[in-house]
């Protein structure tokens, strides 16, 4: 019997570690910007040479949406809204392999459905805990279904809090941590965040939030090394870290933050769009600012950490790379068009799609970024994509598209 070599042992150990952590394992993409809400598709191997042949399938959707796809157990879930007043809310389940629709459920909004024409009622991305899916809409209707489309509970938060709306639309995506789904519902007229029990739909906690329009989504500091997970709630006032099961505040950063792109977390450091980009090192009950870079301003897309770089798309479609250690800009790469969605980083490559539907694969290196390939999908694309089992899932105004290496 051959003795296992050192390389195999390390691989086996790493695999075991990944398996035990669960969320690090490739496969599912459970919420906006991925399982850890940081836009990193760990372990995913996506096609780098995009072409017509990498379009595995396109599935027609019953309505518009800015929401991105989530993928659970080989099934893609995506929301859509339709109707003259956008009052029809759709939740669609599609087989990730074949692109065949498994089921579609339709509900009616009970909150305000008005949005800016670029947005849609279906702007927040769905979330999942692996057994259930949570669909949230601009109208603040929150649905929980099982993976077969059975309604498990429903909250009409727009009806419960009729002033918590924005005539331009609401976009904050929910985040699931343990037994709690956290939603941020913040507008000029009324603002709150709440933790909802994943099983019953009842409110576990609710906290007042700064009364101001806010389109950001909660970010996550995963619970590791004996430390509890924290959910980061961003607003124009700054960043508030709360315990997901209680809503109790762990720490606050009060130097202001953007109300569109959201914070991201990598290796315990928080990168928040604040006065450009600011890096924060959280402690147990306080937070320390590591650096601030005023010349790197994320526009709509949230920052992504790739290796030793913080990558930020500005309003001119220029990709800026900053050093994670100092925040200094180290290179820029001009892409075409403007971007609404946040890119995905998978295996040394960044995947970006502009609003005109052109997908780019960029290889970010220490001193430069290079466009590896691009593909014009020819459809308006505003969502943040999802990644699962070698497939990149992109939602356009009318289709769900899977890009994968040709078989």
């Amino acid at each position: 019997m051959n003795r296992p070599d050192g390389k195999s042992l390390v691989l086996a150990l790493l695999c075991g570690l990944q398996f035990s952590c669960g969320v690090l394992w490739a496969g599912d993409w459970k919420q906006f910007r991925g399982n850890e809400a940081n836009s990193v598709a760990s372990g995913e191997s996506l096609p780098t040479e995009l072409s017509g042949s990498t379009i595995a399938w396109k599935a027609a959707l019953p309505g518009r949406g800015v929401s991105g796809p989530v993928i659970v157990d080989g099934r893609v879930f995506v929301s859509a809204s339709s109707g003259y007043t956008q009052n029809r809310l759709h939740v669609i389940s599609i087989d990730a392999e074949s692109g065949m629709q498994l089921w579609q459920r339709q509900f009616h909004a009970t909150g305000r459905t008005q949005t800016h024409e670029k947005m849609a009622n279906a702007t927040p991305t769905m979330a999942s805990d692996g057994q259930r899916v949570f669909a949230f809409f601009s109208s603040n209707d929150l649905f929980c279904l099982d993976l077969k489309g059975r309604l498990l509970w429903y909250r009409g938060l727009g009806r419960e809090f009729p002033n918590a709306s924005n005539s331009l639309g609401m976009s904050s995506s929910p985040i699931v941590v343990g037994e709690t789904v956290v939603v941020q519902v913040e507008s000029d007229a009324e603002a709150f965040a709440c933790g909802v029990d994943v099983a019953s739909g009842e409110t576990r906690w609710q906290i007042q939030r700064p009364r101001a329009a806010n389109w950001t989504s909660p970010a996550l500091i995963p619970g590791r090394g004996g430390r509890a997970a924290l959910v980061l709630l961003q607003s124009s006032k700054g960043l508030t870290a709360v315990y997901p099961e209680s809503g109790k505040v762990a720490w606050e950063f009060d130097k202001g933050a953007s109300t569109i792109p959201s914070a991201t977390v990598s290796a315990g450091t928080v990168y928040v769009p604040s006065n450009g980009l600011t890096a924060l090192k959280p402690g147990a009950d306080s937070v320390e600012q590591l650096w601030n870079s005023g010349n790197i301003s994320p526009a709509t897309s949230s920052p992504v950490v790739a290796g030793n770089l913080a990558l930020v798309l500005n309003s001119s479609g220029v990709l800026n790379a900053a050093s994670l250690e100092t925040g200094e800009r180290v290179w820029q790469l001009r892409l075409r068009g403007t971007f609404s969605g946040t890119p995905i980083y998978a295996r040394d490559h960044l995947y970006l799609v502009n609003e005109a539907g052109v997908a780019f694969v960029v290889k970010p290196e220490a001193d430069k970024g290079t466009i590896v390939s691009e593909l014009d999908l020819g459809e308006t694309i505003l969502c943040s994509p999802g990644a699962s089992n070698g497939g990149l899932f992109i939602r356009s105004d009318s289709n769900l598209i899977k890009l994968a290496a040709p078989k």
């Binding site: 003259y84 009616h108 009970t110 489309g149 059975r150 509970w153 429903y154 000029d188 909802v196």
Partner: protein
């Protein structure tokens, strides 16, 4: 003796048997009656979902009811649709999910839907508009002819979605017609249209053909107001201040001749009329864009009876709405766009003259896009059909006395 004794015994046994039979029959009746009293499983489950509560309360009971309904299959489809009528808004979504699951299961097992019964349900306009539309969408997914069969008769349907489809069909016909035939089709379409885009298209075509179209009247916009201001709203602090007109509005004692202390001096109520197609009262243009100010506007709306209607309004400014002195809704949001029917408030109107009062606040933002100071307000039914005020209430030849109208000989 034995014989006679045996005969008595036989009679006794027969009596016992009869008594037993009667007892069994009676128990059967009681059980049957009890069974009759108890709602069947479908009715019970529909009742549970129909009354689904807010805040996620009772979701486990709802889940069980949902399973019971979906397990009942096709038999539950019509009771579910009938349940829409008295359902809470939460209940509507639970019932919808039950219906869709059953319909999906029917299709998956290649079983036909009860098309005849569903079609009858759709055609009965007394049924819930949402339920009728759900039934229609479900049948239409498998029956391409349904649209052409049913939609033409739905121009004045209580469902805005059915109306929209019927209007769209007429507009398509009008684009291929010419002259008076096209005009007639546009006129027909206008009679059912409740959505802004369709009304605009129709009005443009009719006006081009030389026809008169009163869009404001069509939608039920309130175009005549009395307005007073400006009052101080610098730093947005006037939002929470009940200036004297507001106190009078709440007390239902608005004095149209009163003079108040405004932010720039004495102010009085002034009549303002809008001729805008969509009822926009443009304070910035028709009066002045007083930065950091608040204005009050009141209008009378005569209702022939007590009725529940909707007030739909649009404004980019912060606002409060009172109906007959009672606050109907308020919203402190500035410059997040405006559009027709931006807000919808269901109100109860009393017979006679109702006073609609509006507080509108402008802030001090300096951006180009933050200079609008305007509102539009209409009265309509739940379908969105404009409702005009009823005839002026007359008592003994004298119009009803109101705060704004002191009455006079008709």
């Amino acid at each position: 003796m034995v014989g006679s004794g045996g005969g008595r015994a036989n009679v006794f046994r027969t009596a016992l048997l009869l008594a037993a039979i009667l007892a069994v029959v009676h128990v059967g009746d009681v059980l049957a009656a009890k069974k009759k009293e108890r709602p069947d499983a479908i009715t019970e489950a529909v009742g549970i979902l129909q009354s689904a509560k807010v805040a996620g309360q009772g979701s486990r009971e709802n889940q069980r009811a949902l399973v019971a309904l979906t397990g009942s299959g096709e038999r539950a489809l019509l009771p579910i649709l009938e349940g829409f009528e008295k359902a809470t808004p939460e209940g509507l979504n639970w019932l919808r999910n039950a219906f869709e699951q059953i319909a999906d299961a029917q299709r998956a097992s290649r079983k036909a839907l009860p098309a005849k019964a569903l079609r009858a349900f759709i055609l009965d306009t007394a049924n819930s508009a949402d339920a009728r539309r759900l039934a229609f969408d479900t049948l239409a997914a498998d029956d391409q002819t349904l649209f052409d069969e049913l939609i033409p008769g739905m121009l004045n349907d209580p469902s805005p979605e059915f109306r929209r489809d019927a209007v769209q069909r007429l507009l398509q016909q009008a684009t291929t017609a010419e002259g008076s035939a096209a005009t007639e089709l546009y006129r027909q379409a206008l009679s059912g249209a409740v959505h802004e885009d369709q009304v605009k298209t129709i009005a443009e075509a009719l006006r081009k053909a030389g026809e008169t179209v009163d869009i404001s009247r069509h939608f039920g916009f309130v175009s005549s107001w009395k307005i007073v201001g400006p009052f101080d709203n610098r730093e947005e602090k006037g939002w929470a201040v009940a200036y004297q007109p507001e106190a009078e509005i709440v007390q239902e004692r608005v004095n149209p001749d009163a003079e108040y202390d405004g932010m720039n001096g004495k102010v009085r109520w002034q009549a303002i009329e809008t001729t805008d197609d969509f009822g926009v009262v443009d304070i910035a243009k028709q009066i002045e864009n007083f930065k950091g100010s608040a204005m009050y506007a009141v209008a009378e709306w005569s209702s022939p009876s007590q009725q529940s209607l909707q007030i739909r309004l649009g404004t980019p400014n912060a606002w409060k709405l009172w109906v007959n002195g009672a606050l109907a809704f308020e919203r402190e949001e500035y410059h997040r766009s405006t559009q027709l029917d931006q807000y919808s408030v269901t109100v109860q109107l009393k017979p006679g003259v109702n006073v609609l009062a509006f507080k509108i606040c402008q802030n001090e933002q300096t951006q180009d896009w933050a200079q609008k100071y305007q509102f539009q307000l209409r009265v309509c039914d739940a379908t969105g059909v404009g409702v005009l005020p009823g005839p002026v209430v007359v008592r003994n030849g004298v119009s009803q006395k109101t705060a704004l109208n002191k009455g006079g000989a008709e």
